[in-house]
Symmetry: C2
Subunit: 116 residues, 2 copies
Amino acid sequence: MYDSNMSVTVALSKSPAELGTLATQFKALGDPTRLDLMMNVATSADSEACVCDLTPDTGLTQGTVSHHLRILVEAGLLNRDQRGKWSYYSLTDSAKNILSSLNLSISSNKTKSSSC
Amino acid sequence: MYDSNMSVTVALSKSPAELGTLATQFKALGDPTRLDLMMNVATSADSEACVCDLTPDTGLTQGTVSHHLRILVEAGLLNRDQRGKWSYYSLTDSAKNILSSLNLSISSNKTKSSSC
DNA sequence: TACTCAAATTGATACTTGTCAATGTATGAT
DNA sequence: ATCATACATTGACAAGTATCAATTTGAGTA
């Protein structure tokens, strides 16, 4: 029997909670500076970079760059690994999935060239 | 000859301009309400929905929903098709690519059930 | 024409955010 | 112990944003 107003269960592939974290990640990637930082990390030698390497390209102050990196970490897009005086940032698996899904994956043969 | 500071050309898969529009799209998807709207459009019968159908679920006023839809249209994520008194919104190809890449594609067997 | 309905727009307001300058913190070197 | 370096944090401020209430626009209808 056909009912033009019947309600239908729709199989969403993500739960509301997952959609929430996804929105947070989109929001984090929605700032041009932060998207740029992500690309710079992705193309860095050993797939990691420290703040002093990332800062110059942005044209922003070190404090502001740290601020953006923190947002990316909190969104689950970057890992922070402090070794000695430096903080090394690298892509999380989640970030790799998103970027590679969107054909943003990058292969780099950069060699290390730190400015600090 | 090895030079630890040599500069290396990196093959980025997106131009700066493309990254800019991508950031705009991420920003648009970064709002929970707008991500929800996108999912609701995606799961709508005929893959399109009008404002009066989308508004109730949001708990927001009609004007605010129109505002969010405009942002999604300007980001190139939704098409607007005005037919009669109604504006029908549907996913753009760009939006389909993004959502399906992230396993957010949805198959719906909803039947039309308009509230206006 | 006058009226109704769907949607867009406007103006106002509270809240969020990106940024800098300055300061704090922790690590390693002299 | 003192100092320098790398990074994080704080406070302040301008700019942007989400929201609502109210109004306007535009299309169909009586």
